[in-house]
Amino acid sequence: MAKHSIMVIDDEKIVGDMAKLSFEQDGYEVETFLNGESALERLKERRFEVVVTDLKMKGVDGLEVLRSIKKLYPGVKVIMITAFANLDVAIEALRDDVHDFFPKPVKIKELKASVKRALGEE
């Protein structure tokens, strides 16, 4: 069975590194990106099943990534994590069909459960 592919986008390098270690332990394939532009570029080349992205990034931010993906790759599930968690943003993201929303500090176990659910819905 092909491994499930996950993309992690966050301008904090540690987030990508830890997510990669953690998810690879569970048998996922993980690619990490430090900004929205490079991630969207990569998406043109390779299909990912789940994209985990930070909300607030310089340049193309998480919401833009979410909207682009929903427009271009509707089957891809997007999970949002953010240090900047307020209600308005959450509502906006939900309106744009985000799959899940986690404030930082993130519980990796919960993140993993959410990814599983996202994959299960395929």
Binding site: M18, A19, S22, Q25, P105, I108
Partner: protein
Amino acid sequence: MKIEHKIYLSNAVHIILIVLIGMFALQNLNEILTKFRFTVIAEGLNANFLEMRLAEKNYFLYGDNEALDNIRTRIDQTGETLLQVRPDIIRAVGAEKYTTLQNHLHAYTQLVDSISKASHRDSAVQQKLREAGQNLKTFSENITDLESDRIGAIIVGSKNILLYSFWAVVLFAFLFSNLIVRNIGQSLRKVVDLTRAISTGNYRKIEEKPSNDEIGAVISAINTMAEELQKREKELVQSKRLASIGVLVAGVAHELNNPLNNISMLAQTYAEVYDGLSKEERVSFMERVDEETERLRVIIHNLLDYAKPKEQHLARATTNQVIQKILALVQNMLDVSNIKVMLTLGEHLPDIYIDEHQIQQVLVNMATNAIQAMGKGGELRIVSRYLPDNDEIEIEIGDNGKGIAPEFLDHIFDPFFTTKEESGTGLGLWVSYGIIKNHQGNIRVASQVGAGTTFIITLPSCKKLKRCTDGEA
């Protein structure tokens, strides 16, 4: 005394004066009338005497008994008239003169009585009679003349006094109203000054206790209003500061969340993959945790630093010199980006009283923002000028970069606000704002998207702060 009362008093005094003058004039007129009536009577008497003397002459010329009777009749008439006017004569010239007149008449009467029969030829009798008659006439005429003179004197006297009092009243009215007008004018000017000061934000009160009249009431009211305004302003500043703190706290939370999340994820992952890690890898994990805590420490330290009330080291400084100094500091950045500098420095600017290090920090912040907004090859504009109306120095730092959208202009001094794509804490302008405010100055921004941005800083002159000599307390 209330102004109302002052005016009533003035009116009362004027009325009393006029009434007094009127009464005086009236009294004089009455006196004149009385004396005039008397002269009419006196003239009547004199006419009577004339007739008497004529009859007398007649008798001596013609020995006419009828003439003698005529004389007697006249004498009787005179006697009656004298009795009638006795009170008038006594009032006019006194009892003594009346008695004398009466005596003269009596003497004359007796002489006439002694004439009879053939004495009309007696020249001695004639002579005596003539003399007595003459006395009577002269005396009576004297009395009349006396009264006429008196009337003349009274009229002249009245005329003069009326003239003087007229001018006196006019002068008094003029002086008094002048006094009141000046009084009111002064008070009103005080009120105007006070309200003007308040409108420029200078909430001083009028020190002296307000007078106990209408103007005093107005001043009291204005003082109260000034206190209220000052209170409201403090509240407004406070709530703005609280709002600012709210933004600050939100920003802090956000800043701290990232390192915290990193530590959290490091810890969670470490626990999960521990078995598979080499010693070096484990060490690496912990080192990264340590790095993140250091990051936290720095963020917190910086924030505490920003939150600390800035201790100022104030001294007199020359505006243009400060500007030249910061230009030297950013020269490198200017050269790298090929930016031209347009300096319009005012001449003979009064000195300012500042913590030069802090103000330099502000100007460098402005200049850096401008340079970053322009990219390559722009124009940095710096202007300094004196505002004599407020006794303040104004510094403009402007660029012709991309400008700031109007919806952001309101928030530009908020902590953590940044429009920059690259790094920046977003605290520079917030700190600058605080520094300028601590110098009793003001800072504002004007911007047009696509055209450029200008920051305008105003600072009070050292004279306005009464700090031109450092020794001033």
